[in-house]
Symmetry: T
Amino acid sequence: MSLEFLVPGLGEAESEKIIGIMQECLSHEQETALVLKHAHWNVAGPNFIAIHEMIDPQVDDVLNMADESAERIVQLGGTALGRPDDITRFRTWPKFALEGRASTLDYLRALDEYYDVLITDERNAIKQLDDLDFVSSNIIQDHVQNLEKFQWFMRSHLICD
Amino acid sequence: MSLEFLVPGLGEAESEKIIGIMQECLSHEQETALVLKHAHWNVAGPNFIAIHEMIDPQVDDVLNMADESAERIVQLGGTALGRPDDITRFRTWPKFALEGRASTLDYLRALDEYYDVLITDERNAIKQLDDLDFVSSNIIQDHVQNLEKFQWFMRSHLICD
Amino acid sequence: MSLEFLVPGLGEAESEKIIGIMQECLSHEQETALVLKHAHWNVAGPNFIAIHEMIDPQVDDVLNMADESAERIVQLGGTALGRPDDITRFRTWPKFALEGRASTLDYLRALDEYYDVLITDERNAIKQLDDLDFVSSNIIQDHVQNLEKFQWFMRSHLICD
Amino acid sequence: MSLEFLVPGLGEAESEKIIGIMQECLSHEQETALVLKHAHWNVAGPNFIAIHEMIDPQVDDVLNMADESAERIVQLGGTALGRPDDITRFRTWPKFALEGRASTLDYLRALDEYYDVLITDERNAIKQLDDLDFVSSNIIQDHVQNLEKFQWFMRSHLICD
Amino acid sequence: MSLEFLVPGLGEAESEKIIGIMQECLSHEQETALVLKHAHWNVAGPNFIAIHEMIDPQVDDVLNMADESAERIVQLGGTALGRPDDITRFRTWPKFALEGRASTLDYLRALDEYYDVLITDERNAIKQLDDLDFVSSNIIQDHVQNLEKFQWFMRSHLICD
Amino acid sequence: MSLEFLVPGLGEAESEKIIGIMQECLSHEQETALVLKHAHWNVAGPNFIAIHEMIDPQVDDVLNMADESAERIVQLGGTALGRPDDITRFRTWPKFALEGRASTLDYLRALDEYYDVLITDERNAIKQLDDLDFVSSNIIQDHVQNLEKFQWFMRSHLICD
Amino acid sequence: MSLEFLVPGLGEAESEKIIGIMQECLSHEQETALVLKHAHWNVAGPNFIAIHEMIDPQVDDVLNMADESAERIVQLGGTALGRPDDITRFRTWPKFALEGRASTLDYLRALDEYYDVLITDERNAIKQLDDLDFVSSNIIQDHVQNLEKFQWFMRSHLICD
Amino acid sequence: MSLEFLVPGLGEAESEKIIGIMQECLSHEQETALVLKHAHWNVAGPNFIAIHEMIDPQVDDVLNMADESAERIVQLGGTALGRPDDITRFRTWPKFALEGRASTLDYLRALDEYYDVLITDERNAIKQLDDLDFVSSNIIQDHVQNLEKFQWFMRSHLICD
Amino acid sequence: MSLEFLVPGLGEAESEKIIGIMQECLSHEQETALVLKHAHWNVAGPNFIAIHEMIDPQVDDVLNMADESAERIVQLGGTALGRPDDITRFRTWPKFALEGRASTLDYLRALDEYYDVLITDERNAIKQLDDLDFVSSNIIQDHVQNLEKFQWFMRSHLICD
Amino acid sequence: MSLEFLVPGLGEAESEKIIGIMQECLSHEQETALVLKHAHWNVAGPNFIAIHEMIDPQVDDVLNMADESAERIVQLGGTALGRPDDITRFRTWPKFALEGRASTLDYLRALDEYYDVLITDERNAIKQLDDLDFVSSNIIQDHVQNLEKFQWFMRSHLICD
Amino acid sequence: MSLEFLVPGLGEAESEKIIGIMQECLSHEQETALVLKHAHWNVAGPNFIAIHEMIDPQVDDVLNMADESAERIVQLGGTALGRPDDITRFRTWPKFALEGRASTLDYLRALDEYYDVLITDERNAIKQLDDLDFVSSNIIQDHVQNLEKFQWFMRSHLICD
Amino acid sequence: MSLEFLVPGLGEAESEKIIGIMQECLSHEQETALVLKHAHWNVAGPNFIAIHEMIDPQVDDVLNMADESAERIVQLGGTALGRPDDITRFRTWPKFALEGRASTLDYLRALDEYYDVLITDERNAIKQLDDLDFVSSNIIQDHVQNLEKFQWFMRSHLICD
């Protein structure tokens, strides 16, 4: 940690805690962007074009989330670890298992489950951050609001058929 | 492989070869985007803002390259594998080792070496693709042209100091 | 009615008739905008995203129609009544009954029926307006042209399945 | 309620409570948009154009607020009820009584009173939501910030004359 | 008249009639643009900025109207006469008399009267054109719709004070 | 014909008549777009660049006209036939005979004659549509207004030399 | 003159002189805009489209010049007189005599002569303004620079043919 | 052929060969644009809006391809033949047979077959052009890259259902 | 204080407290904008252009912050005091002492210290505001998030050299 | 002063004189921007919205003026002093005394007086600069032209009421 | 040559050869941009405006070509020599001899001859580059495609007159 | 010289003098654009990217300056000579000698010296033009203002290191 980067009003110990929480969010968000692209490329079936195009703006949103999480980490004096091996090292959640050409509904179902874990983890992160740093908490709150909206998009395809 | 996706005029065996070459390019390009962001976040020193901002448009370019490589794979009947574990599985090149807050010149030197391997690999891919499929070859030729320009940007910081 | 607002060349009695016709169009169009949003929010099923996004530009169009109808009323010296109770007071057509999460096809079917009445009513309005005021008639003619195009969009989903 | 839409980390009972609070905000905001347009059309007097044009961007803002409230409801598994009869059914606040061509100051005074109730109700909603769901609370907090700014605009016309 | 410019399906005699009617509209509209600018520069008083800015988009609209009228004339084989002396030569309506710095309400009252004549004249022109050429009639119908809307803007300032 | 597509308020027999008229407009407009491009490519001479560039926006306009005509046909329950053989099948007007590199004036003269027939035919179509469907009539009226403006552009080059 | 509008640092007598000079520029520039449009509509011949389109941006420029001249007059306490009769009243220069459909070169020649007088007059105005008010002088200097550029455009068509 | 248009470095005989190959590409591409619009208008079924909108950007792309092919022909001294009868005269491939309102999948299947021939033909054209003119070859290579991407879009709807 | 401006739901005493806190933020933010411009103009050295340009977007951000703080004050019934003497009157923090042409690093170091106090003060303001008014607290929370990001930018230049 | 920054062709002594004059302009313009915002926030009364919005573009203009003045100072080798204490130190003109919520006319009257001194001072500065450096003189001439235009806007509200 | 700039996969000797070829292209392209501007300024005659404006976009294209050629040289480790004396030193082609005001056709004829040499030289360069470096070859291939299109534009003015 | 191009109010002898002065400015400005690009390509060192990008907008500015100078020459009846040999023929100032890859500071120092001569020469030109033609003088005054600003940018990098 770089002590000269301590945010005015935040101590060293609590900064380290925040960094730890934020690193996990960062890796999770980076993987989410990769997984969404993975689905974007391999979906197929009668709804192909609608789902293919629905995913891309969400990829942009999630890449921005990762950028915000990472920049908060370095603002607090930490290192933002963002290589593929960093993602697998910090992973505490199940991998995304589906691969190969599959129907849009199969991919949406798999992504829906993946988002269940992602949102639950980030909601837990917020609870811990609330007592540590309102700036970091606000950042992740905005991420959750956006992620829950996209999960609604996906779920709306999975009923009424 | 999905046989119903064979491009008109390309056979099954050669399509599989092209897919194999393109998958390696895809994984390499995806890792490059992650590595560039990793550098973007952790560089520091008197030239911080110039280098920090010089990297972002290149990230966008490399993400588009990965998208083109992946979409070519599925057009040929293959599966584009794009999760973090896919990147590490297909990796035949050295990892990006530098981490933690370091000076702009240190990061540029490490990225320059990383690009040496990336460009050499993609130039080799082109040689193989030239006999198999001009569309895939054209795609990677454009990638190399862009990557060599950015490498020149980086190298220009590393002399005359 | 404000007599000083009489359009040059139009008498008081005919202005009142026009205002009466236009007020019904206004209330009908305002309700249509609310109903379309209602559908936009509650549709579900495998075609969710395509239908969800197809509705929004039509909402904007219909809000502009209501604005044009209302501004014509006040140009003629009348009052444009636009609160929710005004809508229900002037309603001479059947309510939109479907509610709750339902499939895209169910909502499209219900909207198709709702548009049957709306277009029939506005076509009747045009016939009456033709003898009274060509400006008002032209306004509603443009509305019908646009509404019939959107009805075609909806109907095209309801066959061939 | 659709149980398969439960947000990860929120139970069924609390989701129903949130939906109830949000539905009231939704109906209130939908009526506000209609009431602002109603005023936009019928104001008159020497300051006509300035007030006429000041209202329209606020209509757009309030329509977006209603959209956000409604989309949150369906994300939580509820149904967003948005037809005119839904507005009057959920109404617990006084109607907007002013109608007919009236001066800009009369309309601003009536709108100012209408906003008094709207803001008080949404501030109460926030207090209840704070213990239930930070995402919903954040949404309404942003709405109140915007509504209070517009009320200041209106009030600034009502003194010093 | 240039006979080689006769519109297919329109005879020489009726084309001359249409040109005569359109030339009067052209001169009237050109003068209107000059008169609006004249007011734009010389208004004063507490509502100065709102009225000053309300006029400019109408000037642009009226200049476009004159352009459409003139281009229709030459499409029909006539000459569009557009110099200041042409305006005064074809003038059959009262001049705009108000000059010098005056209050916004004085200018609006004078413009309102000027528009009474303008709209009445163009409504008469439409009646004559309806039997001669629907394209020319549609052009002037659109002009009237726009002029009536702006007259309503002006009139709304002249009551309730 | 698809009976479930009947526009509310229009019967089956009259719909068929409208469709027949509109199909001819469609084929004529599609050919016009092809012919304009044909001229765009092969003109030559000292005015080359001005004429070459003047044609392209008209091509876009005519393609939009064909789109509107075709969409009206399917809104009425018909099939819009748009392949090259459909164009030649429905052709009741003379072909465009000029080919090979020729001067700008030669091409403009040939296009001027081609437009004579096109405009005459669409003016006849309007007369028939006026008693059948005001929406279709309004659509073709707008087309004629635009086509006559472009014919004026062309004719203006053909005199005074 | 409105004494309360005297620009700080400029006396009443010199302000009146400046206003007189600027009024003549205003009328001259307003007529120029009308004359350019007059030419824009009536030119014909093989270069039609190029000349027709070359004039329009200059009309916009000249309308802006008139606007700047007029606003300077009222800033100095004067009245900007802008109706057609004001133009003919203040006219000290020859009218634009050419009318009817004529070739592009004829119109350019006539406009070139018209600009000779216009530029000479505005250059004289600058000489007088230099000793009175640098702001007004700067305004007209910019006008002359633009007018001379457009005159060069016109002249370049009149040689080498 | 116009000999004065020979590209520097290309002889007359080879230019004629290239022109012959490019004319066939031109006619094929022009027909493709017509066929895509034909499908755009007549598709129906639950995926209507997604397929309807997916086709339009491809129409624009194909129209640009035809433009590039035609402009290359005239650059080489040939005539670009672009009327409907030219398309049918140069046609060596099967017509597009499907007509009438049909489901999205039926149209996609028919278009997929049509693209099989189109892509095969253009890939053959490239082989011949490679020895004649790299510029023409590069143009068609870009066309094939784009056409194969759109075929993948279509094919992705035809499996997994 | 203007009692008629009390926000619905906030009492007079607490409004005064909030206004006091917000006025200090306002003055601090206004000075910050002046100080950043002061640095923007006087920095020098080999990194001149990068630092010179990095500051300007932050100036815009801070001017918007001051605007939001001031508008909140008047929404609460207070007066927003914004002249230079108001800034020095409310100043409880050390002045910015560096002046004259100095190196980029000297200016960044001085600005970094200045931001230490600014961020600490605004973090304290938030703690007080949390119990008084969530709208005001949210406003300052957004300011702090932005200020901390810019401080990180500056600090990143001050290590590794 | 930094001698190495002397503009080619300007001596040291005259550069110092220019810098002294420009510094006063800079401080005066910076205060003007603060004062305009101060008014923007605290005006009230029936014309509130028109005046509130009229001020903001002028603030942007004045901030740009200050930027130009300051950059000219450093181009000449001087230091641009821009903190609040610099403004009060260089102030030779009366403070802006009005504070608290007041009517639009009161604020406009106070600003009108403030502009009287500002314009007089800058006109004096131009007289001195004319003999020293045409670049600096041109810069301030442009500022005065813009300031006088805005003063006319303000004054136009203060008569005819 | 800077050895540390060798592109990965290219040796020193071949890099020097490529640099030599590219330098000649660079000088030729730089001169072309100057020559085109020279013509842009001095053309005259009845087609003045069309030719004057046709040249400017080509100037921008050619400046971009020179930029690409130069950046490729430095990427390969060479120096891009771009001063006027460098152009004349590397010149192996005939100068552009036409000067003074001349007709549009004279200038187009002279430019057409100049392009004959330019295109022949770059086509020769491509043949040499094909065996050395596909990136450099692709760059010049794109240049030739664009230059041949512009030559067609010019030639199309030189026949049919 | 073309006498028919004499600007109204300027004699033949003085026009020739102005043309001589402006031609030297033109050649000097054209060389400056080439020299700036030359530097843009060959700079290197730790500040590479910032300096590389700082130069490009100045190139655009200087190209526009040359365009204005050249267009003024032809407006006055002269010929604008713009080929590389014209630049070297009219050169009365020292060449730009630095070549090869060199550090950013070396290039900035060489450019700073080059600008010393350029600005001194253009300041002298203004003195001569002031007595001949205010339009030409204003054009070069604007050029100097811009060139001095860019020289300040360069100089700011050369101190404090």
